[in-house]
Amino acid sequence: MKKASELNFGEKGIIKDINTLNPSHRRIIEIGFTPGQEIELVNTSLFNDPLTFSLRGTLIALRKIQADCIIVN
């Protein structure tokens, strides 16, 4: 179990849960980060923030602090 923000470049993970303590958690679920989905960290920019994930056939950029609420394994 780890946070999506802790994935390595090119590493995949299956979403286990979304931490509701994060103020952005609702928008993150709504955009498609739901338990059971496979995500891949496809890009880390120069500052390692934001991060780009591949999800449901599309690419979504999130700040690290927001990716923190996505729990994967």
Binding site: R27, V42, N43, L46, P50, T58, L59, Q66
Partner: protein, 666 residues
């Protein structure tokens, strides 16, 4: 049924919503503020050819009924009730077929809330290229609502959609349940709904030709863990991103690209701006010749024609800026640029999405402030609007050029370009510092507190549609002219009156003078006795600490109409006669100018450098204040901008001039 039915159009961003609205309205729509907010929406009647008497309402894009920003709140509330239009009769919701699982969340919420809904599936051709399609009949059966496929480009399916709308309008009205919004906010609801949608999607997505091996491959490589027929991200996009979003090169490419855009805005626009300038100055002198030497001739040529020129001179830059930004946006790169710059900007309280408005600010603050609407976080949007006037807009360029030309030794003209780049660099660094400081105090300055976030879908790379890009830059330029034009024109007229009235020209000895020379002397005498000169004398105590006099003061006041008016006003006050080469004769006039009370030279190295810094900071643009007032919803921010930036400019200039003088640099 005498009342015209109201149809509300909603959908996630990039789901083809606006394309659909343009088809229905034939682009003859009105864009107005939603009652009681600064959020804009468009509404229109259907084109006659559809033979449908109904009003269509287009609101900002939303991905769910849980609103996260003022724009989204309007979009959600307008579904239930609209202060000016009443209760909508029917909701059209768009969804991108190639993103169907994610886009159906909104549709499902609308159904759950009890709305009368028609689902419009767009981008079917993208899905078809993967040999897949949505079985819309089956989807309609499962969801219990009408589902219509539409192609926004060829308008295929529009007729079908119109028929479906007519059928649905005949059905009885529904009463949607506003209290269901509370349920939609629950984590469990959203996750359960997604699971439900995934099951539906797995049933309705089917291969177009099941015999083709390719189709089976497509289906089996889909998400193996879930058997959900979603797809992998576009392979070409991933490949391009390997370079453009490369950990190190990505940022370098981004900076190079922005540098290139920045220089090309000036470089490409320069000949066009010269053309506008020449056109209007010859038009002004022609009309002055034609009408003779009287007040209405002056009003028309110096007031109206020059004022119109002041509005149109920035048009080339604005057009080119929006053309380039439009091309970048349409290819899909702009979203990535916002991502790359998000981290550095977040350090000063801004957002990656602040970047494009800030870049636009170097052309003109007005379209730049308008383009902050894409920033969903209110605090970040207000802060972005706040610092945009610090971006050195193109109106400041003629002033910099004049003052730098004055500073330059005539034998080293190359130094000018170097110095100009330096001025821009300094202005960027100072803006960053100011943004940082304002962000530190933002709780008291900008009264909006909410959680900052950056969640952005990176679109698939595609070739830009030139037609769309051209249309957008046309729309943006039109907006600039309509919003800023009247203000600049009216102010130019006011400034003209102040410098012309009370039209007091004392008698002087005209012997031995040509008609031309008499006219010039009359002109300068008139301005020396004008109301503007009186105001100038009044503010002289303010100018004195800077080592400047009323003549510069008047030009600074005149610059409030548009900053570049500073140059023409200086030319007028310093009695520059040579029409052919205003700049060089103005510079020699500046070199000879003395402060009347002390006899010391007026323009020195220190005062010229000081004036450059004054223009970097000062908010001398009434149009910017007007747009800032409109976009922030009150006078609070524009007044703070005016006071903070102009007083900073004054204090900074004061220190620069006096520090330089204390080092013996006059």
């Amino acid at each position: 049924m005498s009342e015209i039915p109201l149809i509300n159009l909603v959908g996630p961003p990039n789901s083809g919503k606006t394309t659909l609205f343009n088809i229905f309205s034939g682009k003859h729509f009105k864009t107005v503020n939603y009652p009681g907010s600064t959020v804009e929406y468009s509404s229109s009647d259907f084109l006659d050819k559809f033979n449908l008497k109904a009003k269509i309402f287009d609101s900002p894009g939303i991905i769910s009924l849980n609103a996260n920003s003022p724009d989204e709140e309007v979009a959600v509330e307008s579904l239930f009730y609209q202060p000016n239009n009443g209760i909508p009769d029917l909701i059209l919701v768009t969804a991108d077929s190639s993103q169907i699982t994610r886009h159906l969340l909104l549709t499902q919420q609308l159904i759950d809330a009890g709305f009368k809904v028609i689902l419009v599936l767009t981008m079917n051709d993208i899905l078809n290229r993967k040999n897949l399609r949505v079985n819309s009949g089956l989807l309609s059966e499962i969801l219990g609502i009408a589902v219509v496929k539409v192609n926004g480009r060829t308008e295929e399916g529009i007729e079908d959609l119109i028929t479906t709308i007519k059928d649905n309008l005949k059905k009885p009205k529904r009463n949607p349940d506003h209290s269901s919004l509370a349920k939609f906010r629950k984590k469990e609801y959203i996750i359960d709904t997604f699971e439900k949608i995934e099951k539906i999607v797995s049933k309705v997505i089917e291969p177009i030709n099941p015999d083709i091996q390719n189709a089976n491959n497509q289906l089996s490589i889909l998400n193996p863990t879930l058997k959900e027929p979603s797809q992998q991200p576009d392979a070409l996009t991933l490949k391009i991103d390997k370079i453009l979003l490369h950990k190190y090169f990505g940022f370098i490419i981004f900076l190079l690209m922005m540098g290139a855009i920045f220089t090309s805005i000036f470089w490409l626009a320069a000949p066009l701006m010269d053309l506008v300038d020449t056109l209007f100055s010859s038009l002004a002198s022609y009309s002055s010749e034609l009408l003779g030497n009287n007040w209405y001739s002056d009003l028309i040529s110096d007031g109206i024609i020059s004022g119109t020129g002041a509005v149109l001179i920035f048009l080339p830059q604005i057009l080119i800026l929006f053309l380039i930004l439009g091309l970048l946006e349409d290819t899909g790169y702009l979203a990535r640029g916002a991502m790359l710059i998000d981290k550095p900007l977040s350090k000063i309280g801004l957002n990656g999405k602040s970047f494009v408005p800030m870049l636009s600010g170097f052309a003109c603050a007005i379209p730049a402030i308008l383009s902050t609407r894409t920033i969903s976080n209110r605090r970040e949007r207000l802060l972005t609007i706040f610092i945009i006037p610090l971006m050195s807009c193109s109106a400041r360029l003629p002033v910099y050029v004049l003052l730098i030309a004055y500073l330059m030794p005539p034998d080293k003209p190359w130094l000018g370009g170097f110095l100009l780049s330096f001025v821009y660099l300094v202005s960027i660094i100072l803006s960053i510092i100011v943004a940082y400081v304002i962000n530190k105090f933002n709780k008291s300055l900008i009264k909006a507190q909410d959680d900052s976030s950056f969640i952005l879908e990176l679109p698939t790379y595609k070739l830009p549609k030139l037609k769309v890009v051209l249309r957008n830059s046309y729309e943006n330029s039109k907006e600039y002219i309509l919003r800023a034009g009247p203000i600049i024109l009216i102010l130019s007229l006011i400034i003209w009156s102040l410098t012309y009235l009370p039209n007091n020209v004392p008698e002087f000895d005209k012997t031995g003078l040509t008609e031309e020379e008499v006219l010039q002397i009359e002109k300068s005498e008139r301005i020396s006795n004008s109301y503007a000169a009186k105001i100038g004398t009044f503010i002289e105590p303010i100018m004195q600490p800077l080592g400047l006099d009323w003549r510069v003061g008047v030009s600074l006041i005149a610059a409030f109409a548009a900053r570049e008016v500073f140059v023409s006003s200086m030319a007028l006050i310093f009695k520059v006669t040579d029409e052919e080469n205003i700049q060089s004769s103005l510079i020699s006039a500046m070199r000879n100018a003395k402060i009347e009370s002390t006899g010391e030279p007026l323009f020195t190295i220190s005062t010229s450098i000081g004036l450059i810094f004054f223009f970097i900071f000062a908010l001398q643009c009434i149009s910017t204040l007007a747009v800032s007032r409109k976009e922030t919803g009150s006078w609070r921010i524009p007044l703070l901008q005016l006071i903070i930036f102009t007083s900073t400019a004054y204090i900074f200039t004061f220190f620069i001039i006096n520090i330089l003088k204390s080092f013996g640099i006059n």
